[in-house]
Amino acid sequence: MPILEVTGLRKSYGSTEVLRGVDLHVNAGELVCVIGPSGSGKSTMLRCCNLLETPTGGRILANGHDVTSATVDINRLRQDIGMVFQQFNLYPHLTALDNVSLALRKVQRRPKAEAEALAQVALEQVGLGGKARSFPAELSGGQQQRVGIARAVALKPHVILFDEPTSALDPELVEDVLNVMRDLRQRGMTMLVVTHEMSFAHAAADRVVFMDGGVVVEQGSAADMFERPREARTQSFLARYGSRRS
């Protein structure tokens, strides 16, 4: 059963149409990677899924609930849809532990001790149990992004959206973050990942979605997409990406 189901999703800014009818779904426990050139609408599509952007048309079902329906409690729904940002967006005035426990306390109204215990567990899951008292500025980019993942994981969402989670990282720190994501996949977390890490998508994704010009051009298993792409646009994108990688 799909945890996330996007149908005919459209988004325009003024007269500029960024999404022109996107269809995709993510099943429970799946890791789906979205690839495509910049400006193809990948991030906009992702941000529509938790209503950081308001779609101009189409439908998004998260665990069966219509995200765009006027009657839906979006704040309730967002707790079930975690998000990890390209720029981490950690709260700089709070420690790693407080970054992770804030929503547990203020949104889920858990007592401080319980929220901090859950936050500590989430930090340990991403290998940062020892950094609970550090402020974001005292952490490396890779560590900051892992705190960002812990912040999403701690709320025990049904699905986590990743918006180019490694694009702002130094190359030597990328692998730490990808390993945490592989580990999440092993634990059965459902994930929708917009990424430029082709080798990660190839090796770790259950399915790969190629977007270009505001539509899904092609999707399939990682092996099919990378080794036997059918569409010419997919082939040329992968060829360019392949040639750029050392």
Binding site: R78, G82, F85, N89, L90, P92, L102, V107, R151, L155
Partner: protein, 226 residues
């Protein structure tokens, strides 16, 4: 010591005059401190509230706030004071000198505080609000726990300077006969025919405001560290 020196001391540091009038100056200090504290509290709270309402992003709410802030920052505080003191009774709302000084300076401080805090809010990257909202926080929760703590940290240095310069304007209350330091000193100086009470007023202002200046310096350094 020459006769000229003793004349200087007789004029500005006259012990007999000082002894007679120090209770007036002390009473004036209490009023200055009282109206000063009242202005700081209501002015910054009102400014914070206006900045947050402006951050809601509704044009209909933002426009009057911007207009208020710009008008209050353009008018000399003395003019605000006089207009309210002589204007409010005409509207059937006569207020005491204390209340009018409090109200006028609070409005002026609120305008500056709103601008400082608004600038602080604008300087917080939009990703902060997005991250907070993505965890299910309501707008005001994200504001309260994520955006405002960062915005206020940025707003404190410009704000402390404003707080000092506007609370010093309590001296303007003397114009509407508020019995604060300057007014009492001028009265005492007329009665005694000697300017020593004005010297005392200067010292009284130092006693009240120098600690505030030192405190603001400490605050600025402490808040900028992080």
């Amino acid at each position: 010591m020459t006769g000229g020196d003793s004349g200087f001391f007789f004029t500005f540091f006259n012990l007999a005059v000082a002894k007679q009038y120090w209770p007036n100056i002390a009473a004036g200090m209490l009023v200055t401190v009282g109206v000063g504290i009242a202005v700081v509290v209501t002015g910054t709270v009102l400014g914070l509230w206006l900045a947050v309402v402006r951050a809601l992003g509704r044009r209909a709410l933002a426009l009057p706030i911007v207009a208020f802030a710009d008008i209050m920052r353009s008018l000399p505080p003395l003019v605000v004071l006089i207009v309210l003191y002589f204007g409010l009774p005409a509207l059937g709302l006569p207020l005491s000198a204390f209340a009018v000084t409090w109200l006028s300076l609070s409005l002026v401080l609120a305008a500056y505080a709103e601008e400082s805090i608004w600038a602080g809010i604008c300087a917080v990257p939009s990703g902060q609000l997005e991250a907070a909202r993505s965890t299910g926080m309501r707008w005001w929760q994200a504001m309260r726990w994520v955006v405002l703590p960062q915005a206020l940290r940025r707003a404190v240095p410009p704000l402390t300077n404003r707080v000092i310069s506007i609370t010093k304007n309590t001296a303007l209350g003397s114009v509407v006969a508020l019995n604060e330091i300057l007014n009492n000193a001028q009265g005492a100086s007329s009665y005694s025919g000697n300017p020593t009470p004005l010297t005392m007023a200067a010292f009284a202002y130092l006693v009240v405001f120098l600690p505030l200046v030192v405190l603001s310096r400490w605050l600025e350094q402490r808040w900028q560290r992080r």
